[in-house]
Symmetry: C2
Subunit: 217 residues, 2 copies
């Protein structure tokens, strides 16, 4: 990933630009708001204060040459779509665009965005799941029937040994790790006891993992 242009240095674009730059990528950051650009002028490889709905501006920025161009303009839908069209005309290899709604996202794909992201929508859904199941720290779907989860030890789980929990027989689930403080035991044994605040790293049948969570709610 050699260089990236980030168009729009709002909350999403500026975080993206900073993170990329900090990880060794050469970043060009563009925004029409001087204040936003000044905040990053010392940080990014290159910055520009410009209105990217101006075709001339897009030409002069040389966006054609970037590996990735990110359209990080959410609320100004016209600017977001028009820029994507221009980038497609320039044969930019990989266009990523931020969408404010499903409809905006659909329009972006139709005009040529290779990837569309929905930061607020996705984080809203994540927080919802976290509020409903605060002990569930991580959830990865491995297949239609298997998942991997991280579960905080609390309530009825506290003080049990893995033998007592009998996870494999009862729930078709394996403990692949037991986190306690800063330590992670990757070879837990039957007599290991789980303490309050520990984290169980479990993999197995999704149905079993759900049953485990509701049994020990």
């Amino acid at each position: 990933c050699k260089d990236v242009a980030v168009i729009g240095l709002g909350r999403f674009g500026s975080s993206l630009a900073r993170t990329l730059q900090s990880m060794g990528v050469a970043v060009l950051g563009v925004d029409l708001c001087e204040e936003h650009v000044n905040g990053l002028a010392g940080v990014l490889t290159e910055t520009a204060i410009a209105d990217i709905t101006d075709v001339q501006v897009v030409q002069e920025l040389g966006l054609r040459n970037f590996d990735h161009v990110v359209v990080a303009i959410g609320q100004n839908i016209a600017a977001s779509l028009m820029l994507t069209v221009m980038l497609k005309d320039l044969d930019v290899k990989h266009i990523i665009a931020k969408a404010s709604s499903d409809l905006h996202g659909k329009a972006l794909r139709l005009v040529g965005a290779d990837q569309v992201v929905f930061p607020e929508r996705d984080m809203g859904a994540r927080l919802a799941k976290h509020l409903i199941a605060p002990n569930l720290l991580e959830f990865i779907e491995l297949s239609p029937v298997h998942s991997l989860i991280e579960l905080t030890v609390a309530g009825a789980l506290v003080g049990k040994t893995l033998r007592q929990l009998d996870l494999r027989n009862k729930y078709s689930v394996n403990v692949i790790g037991l986190r306690s403080g800063q330590y992670c035991n990757l070879s837990p044994i039957a007599d290991d006891m789980v303490k309050e605040g520990d984290i169980l790293v479990l993999v197995g049948e999704t149905e079993g993992l759900e049953r485990l969570q509701s049994d020990y709610g």
Copy 2:
């Protein structure tokens, strides 16, 4: 999680409210913009069109009784902070607030928010990491020295058997799962071969996982 009030039904708040409601939570959604409220009127348990900087309004909404109140107002910093102060005065059990910047987040914590979220900032950082390492699908830090990752099989990994990859000896890493299409093999054996597009689920020393990724770039 019995009921949640979501104040501010922008992109983040509306997604949060919808997801909670779809998972069986009773949601009250409040916004001063009629259009935003109308979009959710048939969906949420209760909605209200109101300006929450009005103390009277906050009283009448009965926010004191909710398990969680989410302040999903990012750009109107005064409204965000003033509402949080009012909620704290009402002894609301759990206040979650969306912040537009680190400074805004700090102010929110100082006035009493229990949890502060940064949706755009966090998703910007996530996209950055994805652009730099597109084969790295998941990354969970298990301890200061251990991680779990999901790595797409591409390039030099393609067509190798697990025996050939010799992950445990070379990288101090275990394959806990091999995903192929919709199927996940949770008991992979040495002769299993990884194909293009498969996903390796690996756990072990973070340093080894990083070396593996750079060796097979």
